[in-house]
Symmetry: C2
Subunit: 474 residues, 2 copies
């Protein structure tokens, strides 16, 4: 399909922004002057700007025109030429990811490598109190093997909240798990056989890649746009070309790109799944961390054939340490429930009861309001610091929710080396190669700002920038 005129204009402008002709915050040419210059109609220019706006490259300001988005543009994932490869995963990733994320704060004081939420907030106190009270008065029911599906009151609360994501689910359609990881693992085991092909967006959450490898599956990486997500065109192509067994996607503020998939793309994905009779494992873990009020819809909201397996947890919205997650398996209920049984029987009861109280009492909503503000502020703060301290040419994503930034370094800087050097200084980051089976992301890293501390962490970003400078000169 030949490119439209407005697409070409948008890409030309993007190139100019990348080359530094237009800076963040600068006003772009007016519709009329650009139309004159390019010899096209005003509406064509308007379409070009709208496209750029949708991708997060420019911002429209109250009638005064279009401005280069204050967020540095990140565009490398954009599929100029859609194309995908099936690649066997490598075991080395597992070691990298452990080295980059598996630390306690008393070991590595500046933990930017792990996607942990802020765990110091007073809005968590009601949860601690519930846990404490429930433990003190624990009885044979809360100390015993509970029901495999999990605690009733918690499933009711979660089902109620799923309505905000556009999903009508009954409590009995939901299974509690020990975190989102277990949910995804059970889902993937339930719908695949060794040798099957799994499609997912690139870059993606590294544990997905490791699961695929451990289960003897094949990884098919589909390019993704850092603002709107997986390329629908590329996914369509891939589904026509390969016998894909299942897709795994995080449409809202996923790991590491942080993109927000537009609702129309969510619908298109459902159409594709229906057409090719393929299930989707949807990771919904970051959706409540939308920096705007409310939360975006899940892909499952558009699911007409019950083929989306939604996986989530409270690990990012509240605390990871209690390991409370859930899965809504749709038509795959029985298979997923059996997997859950096989993997670990039921999940611990006390944390489920405590989490149910946290939701019932309105504490969850209060906590979420608080952290949304906090994380939006930290995103901006850390972006500013990276802009200030890192080598020229460094580019940063601009997620509209979630806990992390995806940072592109100048090509010459090896993120693995940066990560190794940083660890020696007590700083962890997650280097790009963790997030893909290809070697595309050698000069990228993920920076998690969830528990960023304005007092003790700023100097660490400066230090990180220095290390990057040092590596750029090698």
């Amino acid at each position: 399909m030949a490119k439209k005129r407005y697409q070409i204009i948008a890409e030309e402008l993007l190139l100019q922004i990348e080359q530094g002709r237009w800076h963040a915050g600068q006003k772009l040419p007016s519709l009329r002057s650009l139309a004159d210059q390019k010899q096209v109609s005003i509406s064509t220019v308007q379409q070009a700007y709208w496209l750029m706006e949708r991708r997060g490259w420019v911002e429209a300001k109250n009638k005064s025109g279009f401005y280069v988005s204050s967020d540095a543009v990140l565009e490398t994932q954009l599929p100029r030429k859609p194309g995908c490869k099936i690649i066997p995963c490598g075991l080395s990733q597992w070691r990298i990811s452990l080295n980059s994320t598996n630390h306690d704060p008393d070991e590595i004081p500046h933990l930017f490598g792990r996607a942990t939420p802020d765990l110091t907030l007073s809005s968590l106190n009601p949860l601690k109190k519930s846990l404490s009270r429930l433990a003190r008065s624990a009885n044979p029911i809360s100390l015993g093997y509970g029901a495999l599906q999990g605690v009733d009151s918690l499933r009711q609360q979660i089902a109620r909240r799923m309505i905000d994501g556009g999903c009508k689910v009954l409590p009995q359609e939901l299974i509690i798990t020990s975190g989102c990881q277990e949910a995804i693992c059970c889902a993937l085991q339930a719908v695949t056989q060794p040798g099957d092909i799994v499609a997912f967006d690139s870059p993606t959450y590294y544990a997905i890649i490791q699961m695929i490898e451990a289960m003897g599956l094949q990884a098919l990486e589909i390019p993704a746009d850092p603002t709107t997500g997986i390329s629908i065109g590329a996914l369509q192509l891939a589904m026509e070309k390969w016998p894909i067994k299942v897709c795994v996607l995080t449409p809202n503020f996923g790991n590491p790109l942080g993109y927000l998939m537009p609702d129309e793309d969510k619908k298109k994905i459902i159409d594709l799944l229906n057409l090719h009779d393929v299930p989707l494992i949807e990771d919904d873990i970051y959706s409540d961390l939308d920096f705007r009020p409310g939360r975006p819809k899940a892909i499952k909201a558009f699911d007409t054939e019950d083929r989306v397996i939604l996986c989530s947890s409270f690990s990012k919205s509240v605390v990871p340490g209690v390991r409370v997650g859930w899965v809504i398996p749709g038509r795959y209920f029985e298979q997923v429930e059996q997997q859950k049984y096989i993997v670990s029987l039921n999940s611990a009861t006390l944390p489920q009861l405590a989490m149910a109280e946290f939701l019932e009492g309105g504490h969850y909503d209060r906590h979420i309001r608080r952290v949304k503000q906090l994380y939006a502020h930290r995103r901006d703060l850390v972006k500013d610091l990276i802009r200030k301290y890192f080598p020229k040419g460094t580019r940063i994503s601009c997620p509209k929710g979630g806990l992390m930034l995806w940072v592109e370094l100048p090509q010459s800087i090896d993120a693995l080396k940066l990560s190794t050097a940083a660890l020696k200084q007590g700083i962890s980051i997650a280097p790009g190669p963790m997030f893909s089976v290809s070697d595309k992301y050698s000069h990228y890293f993920r920076f998690c700002y969830g528990s960023f501390d304005e007092i003790k962490d700023i100097a660490a970003v400066e230090k990180l920038g220095e290390l990057a400078y040092g590596l750029s000169k090698l």
Copy 2:
């Protein structure tokens, strides 16, 4: 190998016991009179009695001779002709096992189907207090993603206790899991590929069978003796005949037979594993529930080549609801650690900290002393009740530790029907077909006495006996 004379005599006597010629508690012929009768030497008769004693069929009483064991004899597992079959597992087992075990006490008041320890004891109070205090003062470390391997202080305590089982392990050789089930699941995934053959004793813990099925493995059941465990001869034969990839065994008070494997057999198993280069997944979960002082050795104690993967948890010795278990993977450390990561990342931190305090403070030892007495008493009580209320011909195992009895009904009584009828009366048992891929155990069931209540549960055993009578007349 032809049978020895003393073996033949032992089997003849056993047959007579089975046919009702000798009753439980009855004195058997003296050495001399039997020697005369069989025209063999006295020492041959003595060997026959010793064999029967070792198998738990007879008891020697202070110089007055040999008596039919007061425990009804259970012998069907005895491999008259060692032989094994590879059978694909059936999904139906999963439904049966859920129906039989997955209930809360408020739903089914007489839960004899699930292997739950007593959860009402005051010796658990220190654990509740620790949990409560730790939750109240939870900090970012205890609320966050902990280290993948688990909490240090807990690993130290467990490593120290493993010495009692004859195992020298360092804390860093141990990974904490969310229960023993997760440990076994990770171990099995780590050492197998789909299609591989897994050998285990029959009857066995049903979740093993379900794991084997879910992972696309093949089940190879090896007959086991109800007092001494898996038939070494049959295992040897099977290892010569089939390319067995891994064995799974519970040598001490396992589920459901409750046998205690002699140390000499443990050594022989290690020799076989070494000879055929096969790993063993050893389930050590019931070992601390030895009714005598101390605990028996683990097979791992005799492991000369680090090929035993020991799996265990506090689910049976303390409480299942906290989901704290561990795995000691030996030479398979890295593969098992990766599986743990893939399956659920780290396990919850707070319960680990609480369990560490429970062990450190000596509360664990006190609790274990208490429950050993209690369970030994309940074993006897429930055996007496079953003898009293069940149809003639019912036979019961006599475990020397653990939480369960294995009951053989007269052949005509279908245990699945008994289980279904019992559930309607608020009583759960675990029917025999759950424990095997063959249909050998249709007239067996498992009875768990761990939380047996002398006041409210006695009438339920009477009821169960009545139901069995009813079914025997059909």
